[in-house]
Amino acid sequence: MRVWDPRIEEMPPGDLKRLQYRLLKMLVYRLYSFSAFYHERMRAAGVHPDDIRTLDDIATLPFMYKSDLRDNYPDRIFTASQDELVRYHVSSGTTGKPTVVGYTANDLEAWTTSVARSLTACGLGEGDVMQVSYGYGLFTGGLGLHYGAERIGATVLPIGTGNTERQIELMQDLHVTSIACTPSYLVHLGETAGKMGVSIKNDTNLRVGVLGAEPWSERMRTKLQDSLGIRVFDIYGTSEMSGPMFTECAEQHGIHIWGDIAYPEIIDPETGEQLPAGEKGELVMTVLKKEALPMIRYRVGDVTMLDDAVCPCGRTSPRIMRIQGRVDDMLIVRGINVFPSQVEHTLMGIPEVLGSAFQIEVDRKGALDSMLVRVEMSPDAFSDKITDLMKMKAKVGHELRNSLNVAADVELVAPGSLPRFEGKAKRVIDRRVY
């Protein structure tokens, strides 16, 4: 098995810790000096960069939240000026404004390096053809995998999402050996191939799948590997970290978080206390090398656990286990993050409906996610003309599509017919099985 960057990836654990300490120390000094946001946060928490004397002292630093990004929309938290930025990506926010991530050339380089190491760990390299079936554009999936795959010398087929029959044709014609997509899309692709009379196992050169952007399970891994005759690997990363960055290695047991790029911690989401390796909790990420949008102790919200033992593959970077859920109510629909609070915010802006009462039902039709939003009509907006009601329904669907970046079916219901909650509202019905 090849290793892209053995010096870092196989660095003795003690050396790696020293490197991480050095990077953290530099980061903290830089942000304390140059970022008003971090300066204020650290002062409020009563921490000075001088207080960071060991890597473990990271636990004294204040957290950063997704709401911090929203409150500083679009770029007030950036520590690079616009002329230093070479790209933006945009993902959905919790309410109203989306989250904007800016990248300097060095940020893109670190991201690409990270993906290059990861894809190498999945057994890919020169001679491989990678079909990138993640969305290109504001979503980080497409471009992230694209540049990483180019870096390792693979040939990229930047096909993006949709048009599955064409995807299967090109997969055959161009001898594609690997695909990067969501696990549910790979299921769908396999089923579609079957209907076309194409066996992925026998009629294509596909051997590796790099799957992410939504939760999945070992059960699904077994099913995909057996039915398609390939090996599939979990890839992880959020737009705040840069995008998809980290994958499993050939061991398929945990996702390596490259030590020179990021420092993961697991905390108790209630108390904020750090938890030891092997205990399940909320993932908190510090991105050690990031110029435009630095992240110190960012509360990612994903639930997982840490394994800091040296991996049998020889890599020393710690691993996080498969993501087991969320600490908040964020949903992932067709690879896109959806916050119920964002749905509420959007509905509140439509006078024809009562945004205060709604219900989200997520299901899997075939292999792909579907989302239905039930919303109560305002009595003032009720017309007995079907065309008026259809127009209203289309308008709600359009507004949701615009703010969530993912299509939703809409069902109009009578006012007062959806459940009311006295405590925490349970607005989401998720029928999907992973």
Partner: protein, 143 residues
């Protein structure tokens, strides 16, 4: 004097689920309200029940209390010749006058066929029908 020909129809929003119409009908029965004419318009996932009842205000109150979304709509009722060409007579009067029919439904009244119409300009519709010699049913005939 078009007012007496304006009929108050109740329109009820209903989710497209089994038992919804039965619930509406049962509520009206309990309140002693008679349904004289009605239709259901359905779309994907929901429908609108439109009805002429003998006590529209009582029906509104009863159904609203049960959580139904109800509204009043002004419609007109035109007596129709119950033979070939009957519908054409009425449709052409309105069509020639440039009045648009939003929707309509028919029922067989006590004294012959009746066409219930929602038109975009109610008063003008009434005048045109009367001017052309058509016969309209008054609101009092639905009590």
């Amino acid at each position: 004097m078009t007012e007496k020909y304006i009929i108050k129809q109740i329109s009820i929003f209903s989710e497209n689920k089994p038992g919804r119409l039965a619930a509406i009908a049962h509520a009206l029965e309990e309140a002693g309200i008679n349904i004289l004419a009605f239709s259901i318009a359905e779309a994907n996932g929901f429908g609108v029940v439109r009805a002429l009842v003998n006590k529209p205000d009582a029906a509104y109150e009863t159904l609203t209390k049960l959580g139904f979304m109800v509204s009043f709509t002004d419609v007109i009722a035109v007596a129709m010749r119950d033979e070939p060409g009957g519908l054409f007579d009425i449709a052409s009067i309105l069509g020639d006058a440039g009045i648009n029919i939003e929707y309509s439904y028919a029922y067989s009244g006590k004294e012959g066929a009746v066409l219930i119409l929602r038109v975009d300009r109610v008063e003008e519709g009434i005048t045109k029908v009367l001017d052309a010699g058509g016969k309209l049913l008054g609101a009092e005939q639905f009590r």
